[in-house]
């Protein structure tokens, strides 16, 4: 272990060794939110999907919105960390681990939401047993499982050196099993030249793979919608649009995560304004792309004004007016202004913009899924209001909250297991002052 690594570990040791009272309260709070979600899930299983707001017209509700959202967030981590790694971006070291954690954690939570949409979980194995390759859902099953597998390997390679560091850091006051775990997980890595070379090569390969897989996963996800004939979904732009929206939302989540860990673990020294500006600039570029794709998609629908597209756009501008404005106007323009204008570029502003982007992107997916299902080719003629207009229920919201809580919990626990900032190789080069703007 190099000296500066040891120095760093010493600094991070307290957060790994101890959990403060606030920390316990936080974990307890998250657990209770998850508990509520479990209760809601039991309700849904025992009483049927009737407890949700989904009905025969809007057959997919906020579950699928959450699914797209979490998968998108996961993609961001993969693309951002993969790209930063490949380009050897110097400032990446303090933030790259967070991006990797975001990827893995949201990748574990996202697919759970698709399971909540499925009527018969007892027959889930039919997806493998009777899988049909013609169905985009089968593509999705293959793509997501490959993605989870690939991202796990990538993350593991990325933390391997720090696992070895943890093993070698004797001063660490931890229970024996934890030390044994580090030893086992470090796979005998000692940092010999040969090991370094191999690790470097493997990480490079996986970084490339993870980027490619993530693009495929997110395109396949988009195709679930765009292969159908539904007005608003049947769009060729959906693949790349979803990919861009995904990285965009992920960059925002990364900024918010940076802000939290910086505050909670006092990382002001490592994560500086420069890092916020750097990730903020990534977010800015993606905001522009996202705005461009959104505009293209809606412009073509509106200009040609095919009957059903016109009805959809009317619906978006009437019933969904505010969500539409927030997601597709504020969600695009705010980051452009906040990060674009140098004077506005403060850590707080960038973080606030990121929070707005997260909300906007969630709403964006909501506006893709629900209004289309509410305006099918044959007009909905039903006297039951819940059958024609989607009203999400407490069950769906509890499970949404549970997903977010699980994300926070796993993130918290991960940061208790391994330093949230890359220790290995965190040397002079990562001093942002030398490299940035």
């Amino acid at each position: 272990m190099e000296n500066n690594e040891k120095q760093l570990l010493k600094e991070f040791a307290p957060q790994i060794e101890r959990t403060s009272v606030q920390g316990y309260v936080w974990i307890l709070f998250l657990l209770s939110v998850i508990g509520l979600g479990v209760y809601a899930f039991i309700q849904q299983v025992t009483k049927g999907h009737i407890v949700t707001g989904m009905r025969d017209n809007v057959v997919w509700g906020i579950y699928i919105v959450n699914f797209i959202f979490f998968m998108g967030v996961s993609y961001a981590g993969a693309l951002i960390s993969g790209t930063l790694h490949l380009f050897k971006t110097a400032w990446r070291k303090p933030v790259i681990r967070m991006a990797e954690f975001i990827t893995i954690i949201s990748l574990l939570i996202g697919p759970c939401y698709i399971l909540l949409c499925i009527g018969r979980l007892d027959k889930l194995h039919y997806l493998v047993l009777h899988g049909r390759i013609q169905s985009p859902i089968t593509w999705d099953v293959i793509a997501i499982s490959t993605d989870i597998f690939g991202c796990f390997i990538f993350l593991y390679l990325a933390v391997l050196r720090d696992l070895a560091n943890m093993r070698d850091f004797e001063e660490l006051q931890l229970p024996k099993w934890r030390k044994k775990l580090y030893k086992a997980l470090a796979l005998g890595y000692t940092g010999t030249e040969e090991q370094k070379k191999r690790l470097e090569r493997a990480t490079n390969i996986m970084a490339t793979m993870v980027i490619a897989i993530a693009i495929i996963v997110y395109s396949v996800l988009a195709w679930i919608f765009s292969v159908t004939l539904q007005p608003g979904w049947h769009s060729t732009i959906f693949g790349p649009y979803f990919v861009i929206a995904a990285v965009y939302s992920g960059s925002a989540v990364l900024i918010v995560a940076m802000w939290f860990f910086r505050k909670v673990y006092h990382l002001e020294q490592y994560i500086t304004k420069k890092h916020f500006v750097a990730v903020g600039l990534i977010m800015l570029v993606l905001a522009a792309f996202f705005g461009y794709f959104t505009f293209s998609d809606y412009l073509t629908k509106w200009y040609g004004s095919e009957k059903n597209d016109e009805l959809l756009i009317q619906l978006l501008f009437k019933e969904f007016y505010w969500p539409f404005i927030i997601s597709n106007y504020v969600g695009v323009l705010l980051p452009l202004l906040v990060v674009g204008i140098a004077k506005l570029r403060t850590i707080t502003n960038i973080t606030l913009a990121a929070v707005v982007v997260i909300i906007a992107l969630w709403l964006n997916r909501y506006l893709i899924v629900i209004p289309t299902l509410q305006s099918p080719y044959l007009p909905i003629q039903d006297s039951r209001p819940e059958w024609s207009i989607y009203q999400s229920t407490w069950v769906e919201w509890s499970l949404t909250a549970a997903g977010i809580a699980m994300f926070c919990l796993l993130f918290t626990l991960a940061s208790k297991f391994i330093p949230i900032v890359n220790v290995a190789g965190n040397t002079q080069e990562s001093n942002p002052d030398d490299v940035l703007v």
Binding site: V59, T228, L229
Partner: protein, 319 residues
């Protein structure tokens, strides 16, 4: 001689029980019904109109009817040599809703599920509104079948698109795939589902299990014994015709037409042809109306009437 006939009959019954009934063998001969009159428990008093393949209408006691239940495997194949088609004459529909009710009753559907729906459509502001009964279109290019991840919904050689509820995982992708809002989902457990005690068959009119998708099935169990679907026989106006494209015949139970001539002479069309789904259900345009559209608002339940109050037509005329 008599004994020989009995033997034949018995062997036919066994054939049915084994679930290997081939439709072609059934669709010939007028003495068909006897083969299905297995219920000895007397008459229910409820008469059902039955169309023999000779084109004759017969009234039979409902209790005497026992429809064949083919195996799941057999239900995938379709009735050999057949290609079914439906023609709906919009000029005759007055929203009597007997097709909906007949279908619901026969399929043991809860009131909240309709395989046949009747819409009040108006193509544009100046055009005339009309009642539009809509079953499953049993498309020849069915997106619902393409997108199903487990092959629970399938297209048969006779054109029917069916669902195997034992296979369905309830992902609802077929529901978003169908551009005609045809499919219904069992959002909870309905007690109606428990009534069916016989082995499951995708062809049987048994209601779907909780968490699976179901829809109009063109009543293949009825077709196998040479009868027309329930919606056809329930309609008092003879709006719905059913038949075979290859035989070029369609009938509503009272009138029989050559399918090709009916489509040619009455300018038959398919709904939303532009989508390329190639439906097997044709419509005859709402001309020479037998009833004014308003008649469709008569004698409706409040809840059914409320379906139509937001249509431009109902709003304009304050119906």
């Amino acid at each position: 001689m008599e004994e020989e006939q009995n033997n034949q009959k018995n062997s036919r019954r066994q054939f049915l029980k084994k679930g290997l009934l081939a439709g072609a063998g059934v669709a010939v001969g007028g003495g068909l019904l006897n083969a299905y009159s297995e219920n000895p428990s007397g008459e229910s008093g409820e008469k059902v109109k039955v169309l023999t393949t000779n084109g004759e209408i017969m009234e039979v006691d409902k209790a005497k009817l026992k429809l064949p239940r083919v195996s799941i495997e057999e239900a995938h194949k379709g009735i050999p040599g057949k290609k079914f088609v439906m023609v709906i004459d919009l000029g005759k529909c007055k929203n009597a809703r007997k097709c909906v009710q007949g279908c619901q009753k026969a399929h043991h559907l809860p009131k909240s599920q309709e395989f046949m729906k009747v819409y009040l459509l108006q193509d544009s502001e100046k055009t005339s509104p009309y009642w539009f009964p809509k079953p499953c279109f049993h498309c020849d290019n069915p997106l619902c079948v393409s997108v199903c991840p487990v092959g629970a919904t399938f297209k048969r050689t006779d054109g029917i698109v069916l669902i195997d509820n034992n296979r369905c995982i309830g992902c609802k992708f077929c529901m978003t795939g169908c551009p005609y809002s045809t499919r219904v989902f069992a959002w909870k457990h309905y007690p109606e589902y428990d009534e069916d005690k016989e082995p499951y068959s995708p062809e049987a009119s048994s209601p779907a299990k909780e968490g699976t998708v179901s829809k109009c099935d063109f009543c293949p169990d009825l077709i196998r014994v040479g009868k027309v679907p329930y919606c056809v026989s329930s309609c008092p106006m003879g709006v719905i015709y059913f038949g075979d494209v290859d035989e070029d015949t369609v009938t509503n139970g009272t009138e029989t037409f050559k399918f090709s001539e009916l489509i040619r002479d009455r300018a038959g069309y398919r709904y939303l042809e532009v989508l390329g789904t190639r439906p097997c259900v044709y419509y005859l345009p709402p001309v020479d109306r037998q009833f004014p559209v308003d008649r469709g608002f008569n004698d409706l339940d409040e809840s059914v009437k409320n379906r139509y109050i937001n249509t431009p037509y109902a709003k304009k005329h304050k119906l």
